[in-house]
């Protein structure tokens, strides 16, 4: 199969959907003439023109709201945040408008739109540029939250997100855009809300999503060399969460570790832990363990980055701990 970059997979998804539906447009900072701050939208201005690939001023609150208004009036906007750190400037329109509109209007105004861009840390960028808000958005009813981990998933999920009739938060990573993976030429869609077992195993279940899947898979690989069989589940969507797939797996392995780039309090890990203890209490042979980021903002120095993030050694150790090895 052909191999393409994560950013190319996203671009293909948008290109295909824009060819298919004239109501879809892309709006955000540097998306058009600059070809995207991270080159996701490269070439799209050339193909679709400035009516549909729209550069904005640095005015997130305004253009997020313009997206919601356009969606209320029948268009299907893709709003790009240069990073989700800057979505905080716009969060009122996401939470108070996009997420609420359908219910407030008694089912009259749905919001078929996507807010997308990179989330999470990306090296030594300091505290304001190193934040992961997956759980913040996932907390809010009315939104769907998708966090793909490889090019194949990114393309199939973004196409579905664009066709979805509800607002979807679609979160990528600067540290994934260059990742390569197999993506077929033929069209395909991936449903929102379905987890994917990326690696089958029998001893321990690891649940993760997004960029941190790389850590989970690398740890599983390392553990395989020590004859420890790890099942790795990629949630792919953190609202809704595919609890069934997780619980099925835990019933088989009896051990669960959740790995996530997020502050620990009220994280996705916390949520999954609740549901698993509720629905599979009798199957657990060890306490559920989570590996999140440190409970702090991420400062600039390199020493902080290693301490802050989930890492392969941290996951390997956690696996051995739940196996009492």
């Amino acid at each position: 199969m052909r191999v393409i970059q994560f950013r190319e997979a996203l671009r293909e998804a948008m290109n295909e959907e824009m060819r298919r539906d004239n109501d879809v447009f892309l709006m955000g900072e540097e998306v058009a003439e600059y070809n995207g701050a991270y080159k996701v939208s490269q070439g799209m201005l050339d193909e679709f023109g400035e009516k549909r690939i729209i550069d904005t001023p640095i005015a997130e609150l305004g253009f997020a709201g313009i997206g919601v208004g356009a969606a209320m009036n029948g268009l299907r906007p893709i709003i790009e945040f240069m990073t989700f750190n800057f979505s905080l400037v716009a969060i009122d329109q996401v939470i108070n408008a996009a997420a609420k509109m359908y219910q407030m209007s008694g089912g009259q105004f749905n919001i078929p739109m996507v807010f997308r861009g990179p989330t999470g840390s990306a090296g030594q960028l300091g505290a304001q540029h190193s934040q992961a808000f997956e759980n913040w958005y996932a907390n809010c009813p009315g939104l769907k939250v998708v966090v793909p981990s490889n090019p194949y998933d990114a393309k199939g999920l973004l196409k579905t997100a664009i066709r979805d009739n509800d607002p979807v938060i679609f979160m990528e990573s600067e540290q994934m855009y260059g990742d390569k993976g197999e993506v077929p030429e033929e069209e395909y869609l991936i449903p929102i809300g379905k987890a994917d077992i990326k690696r089958e195993g029998t001893d321990v279940t690891i649940v993760s999503f997004g960029k941190i899947m790389k850590v989970a898979l690398a740890a599983a690989e390392e553990l395989a060399a020590e004859n420890i069989s790890v099942e790795v589940i990629d949630l792919r969507t953190v609202r809704p969460i595919d609890y069934d797939t997780v619980i099925e797996s835990v019933k088989k392995t009896n051990r669960l570790i959740i790995v996530e780039e997020a502050w620990p309090l009220a994280s996705i890990s916390t949520e999954i832990t609740y549901m698993v203890q509720k629905r599979a209490f009798d199957y657990l042979d060890a306490p559920i363990t989570r590996i999140t980021t440190a409970d702090t903002p991420l400062g600039y120095a390199p020493t902080f980055v290693a301490e802050f993030l989930p890492s392969v050694p941290k996951v390997v150790k956690a696996v051995k701990d739940v196996l009492y090895k």
Partner: protein
Amino acid sequence: MATFTKEQYITWFEQMMLMRRFEEKSAQLYGQQKIKGFCHLYIGQEAVVAGTMSVINKEDKLITAYRDHAHALACGIPAREVMAELYGKATGCSKGKGGSMHMFSKEHNFFGGHGIVGGQIPLGAGIAFADMYRGGKQVTVCYMGDGAVRQGALHEAFNMAMIWKLPVIFICENNGYAMGTSVKRTTNVMDIWKLGLAYDMPSKEVDGMNCESVHEAIAEAVDRGRKGDGPTFLEIRTYRYRGHSMSDPAKYRTKEEVEEYKQQDPIEQVRKVILDNNYATQADLDAIEEKIGAVIQDSVEFSENSPWPDASELYTDVYMEPNYPFINE
């Protein structure tokens, strides 16, 4: 014609030369990966800060965005501490926690470099509010880019600064571009200074390649602030010679345009006044440059020899409370 004292021109020369050489060195160190992350250079814009510093006092306050190395140096933070911060070392002015975008020094009344575009605009108004509240005579100088004026925060802050007559000077450092986006692609109002007029804020345009014009405009604004007559908005027209950050090839502008601004280089303008008026000889200026070279060399050695903050420092300076119960499992 020289309108300022000999000492003033020499000070401007020294100050701007320090900023320039410091950042040229930073660019080199970035290439060697000694400095990581985002790093935004101020080269070309030096007169904006230099022309401010010749007006304000040590008690006055400064706040800006992420393009903050020159502001930090001009406030008097030693080059060693600014460089160590770029390295992320524990001896940096933010203990290695901030990096390039987040220089801070309470001691030097530098209220920081801020990473969210426009976020510092209300903060600047708030700093001024506190001084007014305590009956002080200080003013706050709050810098922002031409891209930042498109944030709603500007409008809310401008309005309140006006109704409460806050002693704040808002400065838009209009360097023509917000990343790859030229000002004309973001507005129908090319005169950014006119945004202040909507709030009846005294506002005007200033030549930012020239220390003298910056100084004069700031002096008027500072006077207004100290007298309790409220804020001022200055659109200071300047130019950045380098890309937006280290990773920007700056294909959105022409070589000729960059050249045109280099012809008006603020440091060269000051050099000319000094030499034309025999305030100093070329040899004197060379000696100043040499001295600056030594300061920068020292700052690099200091940074190289300084330790990283210990990983455990991730948990300090998050709360003032000494035993805050961080979640650790």
